[in-house]
Amino acid sequence: MTPQEIHARLTERFGDAIGPWTEPERGDPHIAVAPGSLHAVCAFLRDDPELKFDYLQLISGVDWTDRLSSVYHLMSLSHGHGVVLRVDLERGNPRVASVADLWPTADWHEREAWDLLGIVYEGHPGLRRILLPEDWEGHPLRKDYAAPAAYHGVTNA
């Protein structure tokens, strides 16, 4: 199935929770999903026999300066098709449901997005920092992040 057909199936099933289809000039298309329905959409994508997205390639957090996004690259090993989901989140309070219960691989990806961008994945089994030390302050991949002057006596000069 092409991403457009998948978009049609999702719109049919979830209605307003799915954003309108836009074909980009260059690069990959994506499907916008409302934060509240993400988990249901993902569960549907995974379990529907015609879609069967059994493989989550990656989750990336993105800072667009006005909002944050959590982007999901999905692929179906049995059908060979892929799709990109994007959830736009409020910059002040970025919260979205965790999909770690659907794909265990999401565990580390969500921890990384929390660590570097501060996106809160609700229902995650243990949302801790993963790449940075536990006591690090701030989320470095945010565009307004200012590097600290020193960390445990190691200066940034």
């Binding site: 260059r26 390639q57 990336s60 982007v71 990109v84 794909w103 265990p104 920092r129 993963i130 991949l141």
Partner: protein
């Protein structure tokens, strides 16, 4: 495991021990830290702790030009530098609509496959080292050295090559070097059975790896495993075939999968054996690339301060360890808005906690070794 039952609590006081395996430990392949809860020789649970090698790649990439990102990508999985550089170039080229000359694409394939062999040879050696056999390591290095000298002649580097460039490759293949590659293929074919005599068919090696660390296919897919780890579990998935890039659709090769020859499908031996057979398949691809190498340019003109149109792209590539790709978002400026590196080791490693349960300490080493991680890419 029936041999090692716990003593009766009323006769002997026993305690579980928390041990740090790493970040400085001989068998964690870099700076992986495994926090291990042990009960005598049995490991009850293991938590991998990563990030010791974090180099802020994604943050850095947001402030340099597209061409300047390439060397950083080389350093992600430093044992498969060619493949990583290629993945980045493909992402930029797809978003920028840059055409790559056919000869360059062939050269990229050739070098990527050579690098795959080099990486698998190292994996072969270090895995033997993990299991206490020192000699296979040096045998692996004997052939790997030939590849490195080929790389040195074509790129100037022996570990980090910066060979694939945006829109082409750095240097052309000379006829002498082509001869050298052919000589290497012949030598590798001679040496391969030697490796198997030394290690693959060794009874102790089989006893140590068969039925150890079994990953069922469904679990492998759910944890996002790719590369030999996924194929070792019997899933026939290879991005070179599933989503061909850089003209891979033109080459004829088999995808080896785990068949459970020595034990259950998806055990450590299967993962090891998939790597060994991939060496032979890579040789086939290199041979075809040499035979069909078209004449022509090796580089299209690409501006140094390349501006990509706004948009996003993700091109997954088959790295020696699995799916490696860069999720690239551009907002039309000279540097990317966001780059997210998806490395196979990061995902493959995440299965460790689920896999290392109630096994012996020696098995932890065998399992982590069979996943074949490179921390440079896990920590980024």
């Amino acid at each position: 495991m029936t041999l090692l039952t716990a003593p009766r609590p009323d006769t002997l006081r026993t305690e579980e021990l928390l041990v740090n395996m790493g970040p400085q430990h001989p068998s964690t392949h870099g700076v992986l830290r495994l926090v291990v809860r042990t009960d005598g020789e049995i490991v009850r649970e293991a938590w991998p702790q990563i990030g010791f090698l974090h180099r802020c790649f994604e943050k850095v990439a947001e402030s340099v030009t597209y061409a300047q990102v390439t060397p950083y990508c080389d350093r992600m999985d430093y044992l498969a530098s060619m493949n990583n550089g290629l993945a980045w170039c493909l992402a930029v080229e797809r978003l920028g609509g840059i055409e790559v000359p056919e000869r360059a694409a062939y050269l990229r394939v050739m070098m990527a496959e050579l690098n795959r062999i080099a990486s698998h040879l190292l994996a072969f050696g270090t895995y033997a080292l993990d299991l206490g056999a020192f000699t296979p390591f040096l045998y692996g290095f004997r052939e790997r050295e030939l590849i490195l000298s080929i790389f040195e002649k074509i790129s100037g580097g022996r570990l980090l090559y910066h060979y694939p460039r945006l829109g082409g490759v750095a240097r052309d293949l000379t006829p002498e070097l082509a001869g050298e590659i052919r000589a290497f293929i012949a030598q590798m074919r001679r040496a391969w059975p030697e490796y198997n005599e030394l290690l693959s068919e060794n009874q102790i090696f089989i006893k140590r790896t068969a039925n150890v660390g079994v990953i069922p296919a469904a679990m492998a897919v759910a944890y996002g495993l790719t590369g030999p780890c996924l194929r070792g579990s019997g899933v026939k998935f290879d991005l070179r075939r599933a989503k061909p890039y850089s003209l891979y659709e033109r080459f004829d090769f088999d995808i080896p999968v785990g068949e459970g020859i020595k034990g259950e499908v998806g055990d450590c031996w299967d993962r090891y054996w998939v790597r060994m057979r991939e060496i032979i398949e890579s040789l086939r691809i290199i041979e075809q690339a040499l035979d069909g190498l078209p004449e022509g340019e090796i580089q299209t003109k690409v501006s140094r301060t390349l501006k990509l149109p706004a948009g996003e792209v993700y091109v997954p590539c088959e790295n020696p360890r699995g799916e490696s790709g860069y999720y690239l978002i551009s907002d039309g400026k000279t540097s990317p808005l966001r780059v997210k590196a998806r490395g196979p080791s990061f995902n493959n490693l995440s299965i460790t906690h689920a896999l290392v349960r109630d096994v012996l300490i020696a098995d932890v080493v065998a399992i982590v070794g069979s996943i074949d991680i490179v921390l440079g890419e896990v920590d980024r």
